[in-house]
Symmetry: C2
Subunit: 418 residues, 2 copies
């Protein structure tokens, strides 16, 4: 552990990835620890968007679908993201939102599982999975006469798999509230033994922790473009399917861009070969252009392993400093101490007062977020978070807690998007 | 009819909407008659996007969900589009793609219809409807054990409604290939008498022709943001539900933004009141910002009736001039001569040679598009199309046909996105 701000600055000087921060526009006077909710703006994005808007759209007009390669964006950006999550070229496409992609992938998995073993009618997930995943699973469970069964804690998952009756296991790799990381390889191994198909939500993983979808033998995956991939608010999401299913699985959002011949205008649907069948409507070109700039910032790190090393160093330091400087305030570490189980965030529970404490922190320029009911969540995007940011954030947290400034009424406004 | 380019210029001088063209960036030397495929770039869009990207995202970061009103974009832009299609405030939201919204709305309609009259298992549409609508209907028909029945020509629809067994009638208001406009009021009246729910795709209507969803008593509608609404390539789409269904219908893409309390993170789905339940994932903020600029260009016309008058004047003039100047080439007018049945485009069939003719036209700066197998399609966006553009386009068409220049091999390349 370090004992001073100077030591934190020294760590930054020695950081081989420190230069990557130059690729981002970050506001002055802010320690941004919420890149797991909305990634920061890459410096390249405004000019890139301007080019797409003014030249490709404004001057090229409809011709840009061919000439500027708009029609290839879902696959081209997909291939870039593929390198971050252990997928092969052609297996991953960018499309729609994470929620919509959960629907597509879970439908495809369910239909496939039910065709093979119609008596198995359970979708296994976690009670503390990100709600949108559960909402979509609920909807599909109703449609297909299935049941959504939820593990209360991750440790229950292996025994629930063993108990049988599971068609599909749908998990989020890194939990949004706790930052806990599943052992994807082990769970997939068990699932495969039990004949269970797997769907992984990589919202808090892609660009944050190493993922090896093929190496770990997953079946389906989806992920988010606006968190660690820095694609901008509401950026398009992605969806991946293992090569063994790509040409046989069917997803119900059978729009024209997922058709084998989108511009033949045939009245009957025939899915495109491979993962392109997971496309639906016309690709969101402007949003995809911004996403590509974001993905490029991650590719610039030269591999996920350096990012992972720095991410763990940041979260480790944060935990140590919180314990050293805020130890007496009863914060509870929710994120696993075991680094093999930790994503790129640290969550602290603070009973009834997490909300006003986070509001006070934000007012003092340290931006994390609050997750109901009691979580202070701090994300550490290794691309642009410095060791000195960790130091400053903990000092501010200590000041807010020591002074009790969070008790001021203005920090208690509720009901806002956080 | 006019007899010279000068007379066309005079029509432009007298056009009360001529000033609206100043709101667009259009390339020099191009007559753009493809705004029904991709609307032109509004002059306001680049600066607006830059503001959203650099200030709201770059500086405001996650806080912009509240402070910049990002969370309200789907409803705020929806309310603006509502004024163009006869919808009330709060009834229409912007979300996802048209294809995804067809899925939501058709699911909602089907579930509602099947609950009331389970013996009726037909979805009625047209063989020449835009394919993505049919692909989605095919998918839902399979899911719900229904049958998709298709009228070969619009005139068959009333008798097919009479024959019974129809749960939902799904039509595109203005046909993409012919420009033919349905009589929405009459078809909805008949559908209601027969107990059939209606879903209208307004892709080629919103911003192009007057639409009165409430006045004409529709049940559901969807529409496209990148055609006459000028929202940019792949812009978000919209979905509308009549107030009588808004609080009771269910759609299966139950993502967190359609939840009654998205940020309560409750594990179980409860739909938001009203049309917000048609939202799914996180709104595509950058794309929505561009869409809002596009919608504003249409609102600047001060109502759809002036736009409709000009649109009909443009299409009428085009038809007259084609007949006068290209009469001997055997072009067949596919779009109805009856103006009550005409959208804002004119389509000409040209047997086996529509593709190379359109390529030759585009090479000479007149941009329409080709629709398989034999259609030359010309869209007339009244916001930025001038009478002189109509004159110039027809002169170029006559030159291409008279000279036979389209016979050159370079115009015969196939397989591209057109």
């Amino acid at each position: 552990m370090i004992a001073s701000r100077q030591e934190a600055l020294a760590l930054d000087r020695d950081d081989p990835l420190a230069h990557l921060r130059e690729r981002f526009e970050l506001p002055d006077g802010v320690v941004y620890l919420d890149g797991n909710s909305l990634g920061a703006l890459p410096r390249a994005t405004p000019a890139c968007l301007e080019e797409v808007v003014k030249r490709e759209w404004g001057q090229g007009l409809i011709g840009s679908w061919n000439e500027a390669g708009w029609a290839q964006l879902p696959a081209r950006i997909g291939d870039k993201i593929a390198t971050l999550v252990g997928a092969n070229p052609g297996e991953l496409v960018v499309a729609d939102s994470t929620s919509v992609n959960v629907y597509k992938a879970l439908s495809a998995a369910l239909v496939m599982a039910l065709a093979k073993r119609p008596q198995r009618r359970r979708i296994l997930s976690e009670r503390h999975n990100f709600p949108t995943d559960l909402y979509i699973a609920e909807s599909l469970a109703r449609q297909y006469g299935c049941e959504l069964v939820l593990a209360d804690v991750p440790e229950q998952i292996p025994e629930m798999l063993e108990q049988g009756g599971i068609a599909v296991m749908m998990l989020t790799h890194v939990n949004y509230r706790t930052g806990r990381l599943h052992d994807m390889a082990a769970l997939n191994r068990q699932a495969r033994r039990e004949g269970v198909l797997t769907l992984w939500d990589l919202a808090h993983s892609a660009g944050a922790v190493p993922v090896d979808l093929n190496g770990d033998d997953a079946d389906f995956a989806v992920g988010c473009g606006y968190k660690y991939l820095n694609g901008g608010p509401g950026a398009p999401a992605f969806v991946w399917v293992h090569g063994r299913h790509a040409d046989t699985c069917r997803q119900p959002l059978s729009g024209w861009f997922g058709h084998a011949e989108p511009f033949a205008f045939t009245p009957s649907y025939a899915p495109a070969p491979g993962s392109s069948r997971f496309l639906c409507g016309t690709p969101a070109v402007l949003a995809m252009a911004a996403l590509e700039c974001g993905v490029d910032t991650v590719l610039a790190a030269g591999g996920m392993h350096g990012l992972r090393r720095k991410s763990l160093a940041l979260t480790r330091l944060f935990i140590e400093l919180v314990e050293a400087h805020c130890g007496e305030h009863g914060l509870e570490l929710v994120t696993p101490r075991d680094e093999a189980l930790r994503g790129s965030q640290v969550c602290l529970a603070y009973a009834d007062n997490a909300y006003p404490v986070m509001q006070a922190l934000i007012a003092h320029g340290v931006v994390g977020d609050f997750r109901a009911p009691d979580i202070l969540r701090f994300g550490f995007t290794p691309l642009y978070t410095r060791y000195v940011d960790v130091w400053d954030a903990v000092q501010e947290l200590a000041r807010v807690l020591d002074s009790g400034s969070w008790r001021q009424a203005r920090y208690h406004r509720k009901g806002a998007v956080t």
